[in-house]
Every structure is written in structure tokens, then in C-alpha cells.
Assembly symmetry: D3
């Protein structure tokens, strides 16, 4: 197993030098869920047929959150996302809102943190909008599903 790249030889945190990396199209897909009471999920489902529902607000928050990644994560590089797409869906069996984010950039570093941040912010927004009726919700299984475009090759998660 290799070493952490975010520290130099003396143990100082650094924003890794990516200037020698190739500029390629990089894609990352992340996923996560908010698990909740069935009654809460039902309220969201009812709202989804109306204007201004929970899922729309969370989706926009996720897109905007992706753009704030370098502000939030100390050692992330600023980068110019060329595409951000979020999908939110309801899984009644697991009583969960599932969030998938897909980010793309043409750059020297990957966009997995942007995709994971988009998912996290969308999940937090679902929590915010439903917390008045359900404080026990959990944001869970936020993970990387796919990554391509860097020299480490393609990664597929589950």
C-alpha cells in the first residue's frame, strides 16, 4: 500500500503539485443516501408532484456544493468543472432518498471530491428540509462509484 500524498517528507500538509500531470477528461460518480422514517419519505413523495419540492432544492444545493469543494476541503485544487449532474430518487423499500452525482472536468486532477461533496451537500439539504418532522435521519454510504481519466486508470466501486 502506498503512502499518503498530502504530506511532504517532513509531514507538512501540502496541496499536491499536479503541474506534471496530464490534462485529460476526468469523470467521477459518487452516491449516498439519507435513511429516514417511512412517513417522512411519504411526505417527500407527495411534495415531489408540487413545485419546490425537497428533491429539487437538494439537487440544486448539490450542484452548487460541487462548485465550493476547493473552499471546503483544505488541500483540494481549484478546478473548472465542465459538468455537474445530480439525480435523487426515493427507495421505499429502504425508506431512503438516494443521491447520485456525476462530475466532469478537463484537468490535471480528478473530480471525486467534487462528486462526493455534491452528494454530501444534497444529503445535508434533505436533512435540513425534513428535520422538523424527523430528527433521526441518517446520511449514509457516501462513496465513490466510478472514477476515470487519471493515470491510475478506471475505478469502479459498489
Amino acid at each position: 500500500m502506498s503512502e499518503f500524498t498530502h504530506f511532504d517528507a517532513e509531514g507538512n500538509a501540502v496541496m499536491v503539485d499536479v503541474s506534471e500531470k496530464e490534462t485529460t477528461e476526468r469523470i467521477a460518480v459518487a452516491k449516498g443516501s439519507v435513511v429516514m422514517q417511512p412517513e417522512t419519505l411519504e411526505l417527500i413523495a407527495e411534495g415531489s408532484v408540487k413545485k419546490g419540492d425537497v428533491l429539487t432544492v437538494a439537487q440544486l444545493a448539490g450542484i452548487m456544493g460541487a462548485k465550493r469543494t476547493a473552499d471546503l476541503i483544505p488541500l483540494c485544487h481549484p478546478l473548472m468543472l465542465t459538468s455537474v449532474k445530480l439525480e435523487l430518487s426515493l427507495d421505499t423499500a429502504r425508506s431512503a432518498v438516494d443521491v447520485t452525482a456525476r462530475c466532469k472536468v478537463s484537468g490535471q486532477t480528478g473530480v471525486e471530491m467534487e462528486a462526493l461533496t455534491a452528494v454530501s451537500v444534497a444529503c445535508l439539504t434533505v436533512y435540513d428540509m425534513c428535520k422538523a418532522v424527523d430528527r433521526g435521519m441518517r446520511i449514509t454510504e457516501v462513496r465513490l462509484l466510478h472514477k476515470s481519466g487519471g493515470k491510475s486508470g478506471i475505478y469502479e466501486g459498489i
Copy 2:
């Protein structure tokens, strides 16, 4: 079960009017984990005895993230946090980094979103710093542990 408060009668998203709420001291505690390969956890543990380790960076990111909550979550009120504290610890049995955030404010609205955002940003930062050695990490069980100070009384989660 009550209704969502973040929509008005026509279904428009609103930043809820809290001007009639009492100004009280409000506290929220949130918790979450990053589950990873045992080898990754070991690398973090080794780093923790040196300057600039993963946990310190994540802890600071969480504190700063708490201050960005109203920028990230569309319908959150801006507020003046009087205290933010994060604790990160390693659980080798579950091969996880556990993050706990505690936020305090004297205000008209609660700080659960600030605590949950702090936990999420700290977890994302752990992911960012370890992703070169472990892409399969999962941010999981981000939830509210405690809330007090509002008219809805004390909430204790698990």
C-alpha cells in the same frame, strides 16, 4: 406527523421566519464515521504522532465547514456560532475514523445543520487525504446525537 416547515402554503421554498422565536442557548451534537481498509486506518494512526496528520487537517476543515453552513444549505439561516468543537478518534474494531462535532449558539434557531455540516466536511477531508491509498472508503452514519435549547425540547439520538 407534522408538515415540512420549509415550504409555504403554495409549495414555495422559504427561509422560515424565526423572528418570533425566543433567543436561547442552543446546542447540537452530531456524529459520523469514515469506514476504511484496516491498512488505511493504520497509516492514519502512524501519522497521528507526527505534525500535520490527517486528523488535525480534518478537524480544522470541520470547524471551518461549520462556519460555511448557511452558504451551502439553501434555506439555513446565517448565525453567529459561539463555539465549535470537533473530536476525531480511531476505532480499529470497525476500522473507522469517528467524528463528533458540537456547536453552540445563542440565537433563534438551532445549530443541528452546523454540527452535521462540520461532521460531513471533516469526513470528506479524511476521504480526500487518504484517497490515494484507499478509494473504497465510505462516509456513513452521519446523524444528530443531541439537540437542546429550542421550544421542541431536548432530543437525544443514538
Copy 3:
């Protein structure tokens, strides 16, 4: 007519000292419009019955924009909004989207800039989302409709 308050005796721009002002509940309402081709308005109207329409995105952008006012307007005071509400409606006669924003704070300075910024950001977002079909849209008549709570009394615009 009185003098500008944003300059001191030497002509330097200053963030006006409001520390002697009374803390009162202050409300401001602002309004503005995006005038467009009738065909564009029709496309918005059609979208309004679906999830994720133009008006919902613009409304959220306006709420979030209100919270960024002190970041954007150099001499504005930071303040803790207790309520932000935006309403967007379509006026087919004038072929316009009308935006109304209402902001509230308990503080030492008014919220008219927050209301005007919310309207402007919502209007810009309408432009952004429709610009692929109509580049000639105009943001127009952004103005203050109502202001109350300060020592200057109630203002009613038209």
C-alpha cells in the same frame, strides 16, 4: 436633501457606524422583472408544472443571494436574516417574470439591500436558464417597495 452617509468628512468610503442605532425588527420588500419574448414566457409556464422548473431555481438562487449581500456590496453590514421569502409569477400581458423578495432582520440596520440583491440574483438566474432561447431579455424595474423598522419610518414605493 441630505448627504451621502457612506463617506466620511475626507471623502473616504466607510462602513457606516451603526453601533448607536436601535435594534428593531426591520423589514424590506423589493420587486423586479425580467421582460422577455412571449414564446420564452410560454416555455417557462410549461415547465412550471414539472419538477425543477425555472421559477424554482430562480427562487432558491434569490434566497441564497440574499445571504451573500455583505460579500457583494462593499459597504453593507453583515447581518443575520431571520426570514427571506421570494415569490415569482408570470405576467403574460407584459411578457414578464415578476420577482418579489421580502427580508426580515432584528438588527441595527435595514435589509433593503438584501431584498434588492435577492431580486437581482433571482432575475439573473431566470436570464441564465432561458438565455439559450432568448438573449434579448431585460432585467428591469428592480426597486424598493416597502421598508419599515428604522428611525426613518416606513417607506412605501410603487
Copy 4:
């Protein structure tokens, strides 16, 4: 008339994928006005011969506002402006401050939103600085005057 590009087939808002677009030099010019009482315009005119006048503050606010566009407009792409220029002038006949912004980028997407945001923020700043003497000012006719560099060709507004 074509369709909105900011929604996918299911009606979800997306940050449009521009990764296949050509990188070209893109320019946009936007214009807008703040209409006010003649006495207010006169006060601005008097200040313009002194240090720290209204127009200088508004001009800087506009330049800085252009850089915040992707933070404010939910579906805007982040981009690296290579030039921002604002001009403010007084039109006594219409009793108006006129603001023109010109933005340039070498990128895969246009800069009309940056130019329109720069104009809007400069106009809001004029309002802020003069509101103590004139609450009835109106921000009006914010529109695109010129756009070039994309595959849709040159646009000239009025």
C-alpha cells in the same frame, strides 16, 4: 424556438456539459442603469471629483461581483476570466447612472452571465451608497449588448 438547456429529459436542473465545446476566446458586454432623482445624480457628480466617489466603489464592486458569478447563479460554470472592465457614466438627461461591463475568457462557455452580474452588482452598489438620500431609485434595462466567441455566433443587442 429551441428548448431550455438547463434541464435534462426528466426535467432535472443540470450544469450543462460543455466538455465537448470548443475552447475559444469569448467576449460579452452587458449594460444597465440606475434611474434616480436629479438631485441624487448631482450629488454623485459632485463626489466624482473627490477621492472615493460612488462610481469608483460601484465599479470595483462590479469587477469583484463578476468573479462571484458561479457562486451566485446555480447552474453557471466556474471559469477563469481573463479580463473584466466596467465603465460608469452619468446621463443627466435621463437622470441615470449607466453601467457597462465587458468580460473576456478563453473557455468552453460564454461570459454573458459574468457581464450581467457585474452590471447588477455595480447598480446595487450605486443604490446602496445613495439610498440614504433617495429610496426610489430603480435598476433598469440590465441586458446583453454583445456576445461573441461561441458556436452560436455574434449577438448584438441594443
Copy 5:
């Protein structure tokens, strides 16, 4: 000599809990200088009689910078400044631009970091605007001149 307050007993960085502190009017004054070539100072002096000079831009940047303090300094509390004032003057004897910032708040924690940040950002802006003609400028002697309003009493620096 007392201990650092920004670490807890285990050495974790914390945003200090100020919830038990008294709400009082707190004032801080900071000062700093940019030392440069006499020719550079002369160019600034010439510009000062025209619109849009170096000092005006730096002054506004300092005011806006004060408002960003809690975003920049990890353990600073967000607070609502009630007044920010910057003065810039030229000292030909020392070939320096001197910057003084005065901040005020009614709150539970002091504003010395806001005043120091305002001075630093104004000095950096002077550097930015003059760097094409003088790369050897130095930002120097940024320090606290005055602090009052907290339980530690009045501090006067030199």
C-alpha cells in the same frame, strides 16, 4: 504567562466557547505599512488626485476583507461588525503607505483579527496594484494599536 486558548486539554484546536462572555461594545485598531521605492510612492501620490486611485481600491479591499475574517482565520468566530473604517496615507520620509483600520462590534468576542485582516488585505492590494513597477515592496509592522471592550481591559500598542 497564560496558556493558549485555542487548544483544549488534549491539544485539539477549538473555536473557543465564548457563550459565557459578556456582550459589550468592542473596538480594535490595527496598523501596518507597505514600504516601497520613492518613485512608486510618487506614482501613487500622482494617482491620488484622479478617480480610481490605488488608495481607494486598497481601502475598499480592506473593508471587504474585514468581513471575510471568519472565512480566512480557522478559529475565528463569525461576528456582525457594526463599523469598519480604513485610512491610508503616504509617508514620503519612510517611502511608505500607512494603513490604519478601526473595527467595532457589539458582541462576545473582540475584533482585533478583523482589524488586522483589514490592514493585511489593504496592504496586499497596494502591492497588487503597484507590482508592475516595483516587486520589492514589503508589507511590514502589521500590529494591534488599540483594543477595548473585553474583560482583559484596554490594550494600547505602538
Copy 6:
């Protein structure tokens, strides 16, 4: 001596048009110090062997500050840093914390402001963390040490 580039012929502040400049790898190194009481330096030195010490917090603040440069300095271009590295060391002879920042970009404009901003924010953070024990600290000698990559050639400071 040449003219300021940040003003146009009419004296308006502008974000300089860099669209004709070559895209090259540009590097800048800046340095600065916080001078303090010997007892304060000793406290920092003791903390440096523990987790979460002053230097680590300041170093991270500096890296994050570099990314906020275009938000803070009015006429700075936004750019995509490919590397940021900060080193902090203690000089007991001068009773000072020395901060060195090195920034890199592949772009059309230099990164000296990013390096100088990183140093300033790190120095301000040192001040913030030690101010409870030493209010008389001074941030001093913030300057450019090295710049390369632009058409003006290599600059070496002292």
C-alpha cells in the same frame, strides 16, 4: 519607471486583460514573519511536538488563503493553482515565526499575489492563536522572494 497596469487611460481600475499573454508555468515564492515575545515562541515550540499545534493550523490556513486570493484582492484574476506549499519555522534568535509560501500555476498571469496572500493569512492565524498570551506581536517583512515564468523574466528578492 513604467506606469501602473491596473488603471486604464481614464484612470478607471480594471482587471488587466491577460488574454494575449502566453500560458506558461509560473512560480512565486513569498516570505514573512511574526515577531513576538520569546516566551510566546517557546509556547509554540512546546506545542509543536503535540497534535494540533499553532504551526499546523497556520499552515493550513495559508494554503486555504491562497485559494481565496481572487476573492480578496479586487483586481486579481481567478486562477487554478496547481501547487501550494507552506513552510513555517521558528527562529529563536529573532524570536520569530517565519513563513514561506510557494505557489505554482500553468496560466497567463503570475501567482505572486497568491503566495503573498498565503503568507499573510498564515501570519494572521499565528497572531490569532497566540493573541491571548501576546498582543504585541507584529507581522513583518512580507515580501516576494522569487518569481518566474512570465515575460518579465525571473525576479529574485531578499
